[in-house]
Symmetry: D2
Amino acid sequence: MTIRVLVWGENRHEQAEPEVAEIYPDGMHNAIRRGVEARLGERATVRTATLDDPEHGLTEEALAATDVLTWWGHAAHAEVANEVVERVHRHVLSGMGLLVLHSGHWSKIFTKLMGTTCTLRWRSQNDRELVWTVNPTHPIARGVPHPIVIPAQEMYGEQFDIPTPDELIFISSFTGGEVFRSGCTFRRGNGKIFYFSPGDQDYPVYHHPDVLQVIANGVEWAAGDPARRELPTLLRYETGDFFNGHGYRGAMHNKEGSQ
Amino acid sequence: MTIRVLVWGENRHEQAEPEVAEIYPDGMHNAIRRGVEARLGERATVRTATLDDPEHGLTEEALAATDVLTWWGHAAHAEVANEVVERVHRHVLSGMGLLVLHSGHWSKIFTKLMGTTCTLRWRSQNDRELVWTVNPTHPIARGVPHPIVIPAQEMYGEQFDIPTPDELIFISSFTGGEVFRSGCTFRRGNGKIFYFSPGDQDYPVYHHPDVLQVIANGVEWAAGDPARRELPTLLRYETGDFFNGHGYRGAMHNKEGSQ
Amino acid sequence: MTIRVLVWGENRHEQAEPEVAEIYPDGMHNAIRRGVEARLGERATVRTATLDDPEHGLTEEALAATDVLTWWGHAAHAEVANEVVERVHRHVLSGMGLLVLHSGHWSKIFTKLMGTTCTLRWRSQNDRELVWTVNPTHPIARGVPHPIVIPAQEMYGEQFDIPTPDELIFISSFTGGEVFRSGCTFRRGNGKIFYFSPGDQDYPVYHHPDVLQVIANGVEWAAGDPARRELPTLLRYETGDFFNGHGYRGAMHNKEGSQ
Amino acid sequence: MTIRVLVWGENRHEQAEPEVAEIYPDGMHNAIRRGVEARLGERATVRTATLDDPEHGLTEEALAATDVLTWWGHAAHAEVANEVVERVHRHVLSGMGLLVLHSGHWSKIFTKLMGTTCTLRWRSQNDRELVWTVNPTHPIARGVPHPIVIPAQEMYGEQFDIPTPDELIFISSFTGGEVFRSGCTFRRGNGKIFYFSPGDQDYPVYHHPDVLQVIANGVEWAAGDPARRELPTLLRYETGDFFNGHGYRGAMHNKEGSQ
């Protein structure tokens, strides 16, 4: 099975800030796209979409043709249309994989899936980040050194206001002494979610081979079975029939449901 | 410390359906209130509020004076005002405890906190429910038999579309053979949440002493420290200063944040 | 990569009890072997070993050539040599996958890995077992109905004295109303462990296609990378050198360790 | 209820090394004892025992009269008698709380309860340790700053070969950039276990008020109900009788168990 990946990038810093454009001349989304393509080869096909595309490039058709969506946003979280967020949310709960990258922690889609503020402590002053693996058996941790060394990075520190992750894979430290749960998985509905914090517009983190390896691993891990894409629903099941759910007709019709 | 409990009840079935009013003449919320009062005594003060109260009885003042809120809703989830849901959400993330009871699984506040559909399989036909303890050390499981036997109940079955609970305390089975994760805890922000499924308008479950014991245990477990009620926020911390966060000024002002 | 599977069977009931031999003429281990072979095809090579083989068929060489070991024991747990248990334990912590099946819950290797009594409640009287999936995204749950229906089975019930599983995949119910966490994963060291309870000498459970599918899924999930087979060790790391651990020389030589 | 605490100390470094004796003139165990007494007051009674006491001070009677045992060992793990380890293990599984401190990570009792090697990376060179809270709602984290600052400490780093903790409360960083899951809870049988890594013979860590506060919090959290001290056992339950387990008579007597 070929994994259909959609790399979504806000693509605003790259337009507005020359120093970002210098690091990522065709945008962070393309750096991420190339990193996944180079590592997954024929196992994946990778497209990109950005905020300024119609419907942000996240139409019903686009999402239906996506097995894993990666999300990078920062300066323009508020500009993402609510109806698009609802659509992405529905697709994740139906089984589309989602990778949320770095400042995507504060995106509408991530906070909606988490139910928390997703806030953290922060500083941007060239800290070195070390990314330590705490779950060496996890497929997302395959093929990267322990630790991954990122020479210069924005600091993200605890407390990171997320639900307890289903799996904690990476913990980062920073020059200043802060720590961060930098690689976490969550299951929501039929969808698998991986949050990975390394990555920033001001540093060339999406050119770092180990960071790209983790993202590629995450894509493979998060891919669901497209044949089973389905939103969980509430159904009535008669006694002894475990396989044929039928119509829910509202809270005041509990008893009649069986007729 | 006395725990300030607010028992919230939708109180619609009791008005609309005589057979429910017969079981709960002054409403399920008062049955729950009495159950908690009888078990916690001076360790708690218990008030009630219902959907038809102004602002559903969930004003800023009421929530600020609440350590643990219990929530029962069913037929009128849609009538709960969105701004009240936002307010309750903020208080939970700030540290107010929350017990979500039975059909509250589909309430706006629970689905917002969980990020999932919170759907399940269901049938209302006098199944016997057995509530088995799988975490015997948990304070919420104290003082109840293994299993709790509920002679007649609505069936709630898997798959229950919730995030993996932080702690799984109870698993129920039903006469028909279905199973359900009936006692689950979740932490969101600074708030502790306990979902407990036994309880229904059509059966006298809120007169069952073991069910009331679990609810009282849950109240004690969920109570936070009122002195520390605070919403997590995103702040900048300078290198070497771990204790004085200061102003975040927007995504395009990363670097200037330190001046 | 081809997964090298070793199916271990105690093979005593099959010798001692004609009614078991009738169900499993060449032993449960061969029924399991065939089930895995039929489902994984060229993705796996499957051997078998039994208690009465020299060193129980679990020599250093045999384990070094095994990616995933499956374990079924019951009547003769006590006859498994302690040194073989130590050897299997070391290989699991070094990265060999392990599937523990049914009555293997009380084996020396499983209790050693879990640290608990691994006791449960039990009855053998033709209960129907229903195996419900609670984690539909997990690869071990792929391709099986919800629920799996096993017409006749031994009852295993809670409380099952195991550590909280890393992942809870299946919960079973039985005709009598008991429930059981019947599919659980655990990580220990570099090894992945899957416990799956359906399966018994007195019932033809290892001829059930869904049960065999779960076991085959479990084998694929548990397989580690043979190139990385390594026991975790305690090493000293000098400041600034994250990659070259060196000799630990004993607790009274903390300080000298760096010279 | 008064919590009966037994603080166990190996007490060898204090005898053998003058520089340790200078920091802890009457032993680390007495520093810990005083810290708990000062914080819990009448809520606890605290005794001490050491390796050189008869049966290491851990007789059946002593353990039966203990609600929470704290364990510090290092240089002489191997001298702890196996039968005493078995006894402590049985009491933990029966409901006695256990705090494992610092180098106790490599004790016989902790590795037996965990099932893993419990190894880590290490260095003793005056690193500053920062202890960050990642679960602010946990009672063990009450009353301590975020982070706790320990000016000089031994470095313990990942990978720490433990099972995934039930709850991760603290993560530490060190001057050198290493990170460590420094505060973890585990449930085993009916017993609650808290591992807390800060603390060392070469640094005055057990005089640090925040460290002592965490230990006192841990004692309160781990205390079980002495009336329910019981080892999990395997029993047969007849259909319809959920409360009266009876005799297991061996694996070859499955069917006859009911007569």
